[in-house]
């Protein structure tokens, strides 16, 4: 039975991570930036799964569970922040929120 080389899985994780990073850098919409962070977290989890599959250990999947928990907490707090910014500034452009003034 042929096995998937670990390099290909890591290449896929790298490509997905770079796409998320590029999107995070070029976008100014806060919701899009949050989506990009989700893509990057997912790519990092994919790297853990590939490594766990390479050495046939369950540790990689455990790490993915922790990443999943962290992503869920992060997206809930991030969306609450986005709602607050939208109510105060009436926009979702991140450049508008660059001043630290209550």
């Amino acid at each position: 039975m042929t096995t998937i080389p670990a390099e290909y899985g890591l290449v896929l994780a790298t490509v997905l991570f770079m796409l998320g990073l590029i999107s995070l850098l070029i976008r100014r919409n806060i919701v899009f930036m949050l989506i990009s962070v989700e893509i990057m977290l997912n790519a990092a989890g994919l790297a853990f799964i590939v490594a766990g599959s390479r050495w046939s250990q369950a540790d990689g999947q455990v790490m993915f569970l922790f990443i999943l928990t962290m992503a869920a907490a992060e997206v809930s707090v991030g969306l609450a922040l986005i709602l607050q910014i939208y109510h105060q500034l009436k926009t979702v452009n991140s450049d508008e929120a660059s001043k630290m003034k209550g």
């Binding site: 039975m1 042929t2 096995t3 998937i4 290909y8 899985g9 896929l12 490509v15 997905l16 796409l19 998320g20 590029i22 999107s23 070029i26 976008r27 919409n29 919701v31 899009f32 949050l34 989506i35 990009s36 989700e38 893509i39 997912n42 994919l46 799964i49 590939v50 766990g52 599959s53 046939s56 250990q57 369950a58 540790d59 990689g60 999947q61 455990v62 993915f64 569970l65 922790f66 999943l68 928990t69 962290m70 992503a71 869920a72 907490a73 992060e74 997206v75 809930s76 707090v77 969306l79 609450a80 922040l81 986005i82 709602l83 607050q84 939208y86 109510h87 979702v92």
Partner: protein, 175 residues
């Protein structure tokens, strides 16, 4: 059989590229769901069926639905009826549907062949993950609980609308 992983990877990359090039948030979320489904297929092929199920349930289910709720709340004030009519156009779902059909064809193929479903030699199922999670990593589980608690409290505190607490006499004075 390696081709299944390559097709899933190609679908994931294409869907992610389409996510970051969309201008409309809801269209981007449609492609984001397809991207998560493709990555779940890659997890399944890599020998992690439990994580593939969690990816579909939590990422493609809970997190994306949460984002859709917030986007719908953000667009409440604008001309929402016209926007709704525009979003319900059948043409925009063609791309995600095609990509999802590719994944569904892969899934049906894998279910029909039954032999050599997992391309890696060893499948690490839910039991091994659970034994490791509550064995070595039990402190991480506790810390995850604390993190989720902090997330709930933080989201409640940030998302709460400020109520007016001024007394009516004070309001009259301000006028």
């Amino acid at each position: 059989m390696l081709i299944i992983f390559y097709i899933a990877a190609a679908v994931a990359v294409i869907a992610t590229v389409l996510v970051i090039t969309q201008h409309n948030l809801v269209h981007a979320l449609l492609y984001l769901v397809v991207s998560f489904l493709a990555v779940a297929m890659a997890f399944y092929v890599l020998g992690a069926p439990f994580i593939a199920a969690l990816e579909v349930i939590i990422y493609a289910g809970a997190i994306v639905v949460l984002m859709i709720f917030v986007i719908m709340m953000l667009n409440l004030r604008q001309e929402s009826v016209a926007q709704e009519k525009k979003w319900l156009n059948a043409r925009i779902v063609i791309g995600p549907v095609i990509l999802t059909l590719v994944l569904a064809a892969e899934l049906l193929y894998m279910l029909s062949t039954e032999t050599s479903v997992h391309l890696t030699g060893e499948v690490i199922g839910a039991k091994a993950v659970g034994m490791s999670l509550y064995g070595h990593y039990v402190i991480g589980v506790e810390l995850s609980g604390i993190l989720l608690m902090a997330g709930i409290v933080g989201a409640y505190h940030l998302g709460r609308q400020k109520k007016k607490v001024t007394h009516r006499f004070l309001e009259k004075q301000e006028e």
